[in-house]
């Protein structure tokens, strides 16, 4: 593989690494800053945002766990995020399959209507959603959040998955259908597995959305048994003051699962897929 490099290739490589390095810096700084800030006093945080703490305040983490009851909220968040992601991906991939692989009347109208949902400013739907959840008798249950989060993400998921499914060559499907594959089998055996990249990507987005959403979690639930992590984080904000450093400690605790999900789950699946693609 070792082909000697020309000077212009060297320059190109250098440029590439400067480019990647810049973005590495820009994206890594928030994480480092967040972790360091979570060990400071509020005074240090407010007056010297870029210094190291004079004394590392482990107390902030004690505050974080004690004040916000993170342990209870954690399992609620996992429950909501996992179910919302599952429901959303199931429903969206079925719709996207039909919309990308079938020819029928109204297809484009349905697709465009669904995609237009991406534009909807979700905060303008507070009153109707509140009523809807009451009518559906889901108020103050975790299922209220599961339904809202999976429904709100249908436009983006359908759009993304549709984009990935459109790229699958028609020949594959046609030959399968010659082989006697039924409609449902074409979905489960061919299109669904082949669009897994898109499914994983939109699943990641739905998961993160569900993990980070705040305002509907507040509106749709009222008892601690149905609340999620984001409400715990807000326990550090009162009307006039915010205990930023304890809040950051809580944020650090809550993003660890998100990062783990992203790193292990996402990476594993993509690795498996790419190696499969090379072989195939």
């Amino acid at each position: 593989m070792s082909i000697p490099k020309t000077p212009s290739q060297h320059l190109l490589t250098t440029l590439k690494w400067i480019f990647l390095g810049t973005f590495l810096f820009v994206t890594f700084v928030p994480l480092i800053w967040l972790v360091i800030s979570s060990f400071k006093t509020n005074f240090e945080f407010q007056t010297q945002p870029f210094s190291l703490p004079a004394q590392w305040q482990f107390q902030n983490y004690v505050n974080a766990v004690r004040t916000s009851q993170l342990h209870i909220l954690f399992f609620n968040s996992v429950f909501v995020a996992v179910l919302a992601t599952g429901l959303n991906i199931l429903v969206s991939s079925m719709a996207a399959f039909v919309l990308s692989r079938e020819q029928f009347k109204y297809r484009n109208i349905i697709l465009n209507t669904m995609v237009a949902g991406v534009l909807v400013p979700i905060i303008s739907l507070m009153v109707p959603y509140f009523r809807l959840i009451r009518i559906l008798q889901l108020y103050d249950t975790l299922f209220a959040l599961v339904v809202v989060y999976s429904a709100v993400n249908i436009p983006i998921s359908v759009f993304l998955i549709h984009g990935f499914m459109t790229g699958i060559p028609k020949e594959l499907e046609e030959s399968a259908s010659m082989d006697g594959c039924s409609f449902v089998q074409r979905f489960t055996k061919i299109i669904f597995p082949l669009s897994q990249m898109g499914l994983v990507t939109s699943g990641t987005f739905v998961f993160l959305y569900s993990w980070n959403e705040f305002i509907y979690a507040l509106l749709m639930t009222s008892s601690i048994s149905a609340r999620t992590l984001q409400l715990g984080i807000r326990f550090f904000r009162s009307q006039f003051l915010t205990d930023f450093t304890s809040m950051y400690a809580a944020i650090v605790i809550t993003i660890i699962p998100s990062i783990l999900v992203y790193v292990f789950f996402h990476e594993k699946i993509i690795q498996g897929l790419t190696s499969g693609a090379v072989k195939g």
């Binding site: 990647l20 945002p49 399959f97």
Partner: protein, 295 residues
């Protein structure tokens, strides 16, 4: 082809779950939003029908017009700066340079962290008294260039946009999913033909990920049009409304219990955005057909 086309039962069955949820959570609530936009309503007293008065008031409000302009700037910046940057990075990472897994994870991390924390970081970076940028400029002897970045009409909007554009992780992982799906054999053939890296990306990668690029740009435009959170957290529309956006206008009207006008903003946003997206999709699909015809 017959059995592919006429499977109405299957089509209906597969569309049903998404259709039900979409109707319940989008179509019906949007009907409500539109209905309220024609009313004078504070959420407490009875609604009063006032026709298009809310819309007229909106379009006579210079702050709202400024908001529309800023949303367009946002949409353009995200679609034509952020998405291409993300595509470039995706193409580089597809070639699996050293540490690409690590880079891919780190580039995405800001999207995992809460917006509140990111906004606080950038407020500190931009601060005029102790901010990182001004400290750096002073250190290298360029004290004259120090600014109150978020407190000046000229710099506030670019400052908020830049911090957002830099976080390419979201579009990167979409595009990366597309580029990684391209079979390696395509590139091997091109390499044998002596194509360099740029030629490979231009003639193989880009056309292969075109449909996903369009998806990303459409998403970027919609995010630009309904942008709200970073502005709310960093400048709250200031100074002197220079960073105003439609979403913030909607939020302010809602907090003032003016649901009529708030929903008029929501309706306007969807109509404007919908028009733009339909135009874009038409443009691309027409080009597609033209290209197909040539081939």
């Amino acid at each position: 082809m017959k059995q592919l086309n006429k499977n109405w039962k299957g089509i209906g069955l597969f569309l049903l779950p998404a259709g039900v949820l979409y109707s319940l959570f989008f179509i019906i609530p949007l009907g409500f939003v539109f209905y309220v936009s024609l009313q004078s309503w504070n959420g407490i007293s009875a609604m009063e029908f006032i026709g298009l008065t809310n819309y007229r008031n909106l379009f006579q409000n210079p702050t709202f017009i400024l908001g529309i302009r800023n949303n367009f700037i946002w949409a353009m910046a995200l679609a034509f700066i952020q998405v291409p940057l993300a595509a470039l990075i995706a193409m580089i990472l597809t070639r699996k340079p050293r540490g690409w897994r690590f880079l891919r994870t780190v580039y995405f991390l800001p999207n995992v962290i809460s917006q509140v924390a990111i906004a606080m970081l950038w407020i500190s970076i931009y601060n005029a008294e102790y901010g990182a940028i001004n400290q750096f400029l002073t250190m290298i002897g360029l004290e004259d260039l120090t600014q109150n970045w978020l407190g000046q009409i000229e710099t506030a909007l670019p400052a908020v946009i830049i911090q957002q554009v830099l976080y390419i992780g979201y579009f990167m992982i979409i595009l990366l999913a597309a580029t990684m799906s391209i079979p390696e054999s395509f590139y091997e053939a091109a390499q044998l033909d002596g194509a360099n890296v740029f030629q490979q990306d231009w003639y193989i990668t880009l056309p292969m990920i075109k449909s996903i690029m369009v998806v990303c740009m459409t998403l970027a435009i919609s995010y630009g049009l309904r942008h709200f959170e970073a502005t709310f957290l960093m400048t709250n529309g200031g100074p002197a409304n220079s960073t105003m956006v439609m979403g913030l206008h909607l939020y302010r009207r809602t907090s003032s219990l003016d649901y009529g006008q708030a929903n008029a903003v929501g309706t306007t946003l969807i109509l404007v955005g919908g028009t733009i997206i339909v135009v874009i999709r038409r443009l691309f699909s027409r080009r597609d057909k033209a290209a197909d015809a040539v081939q």
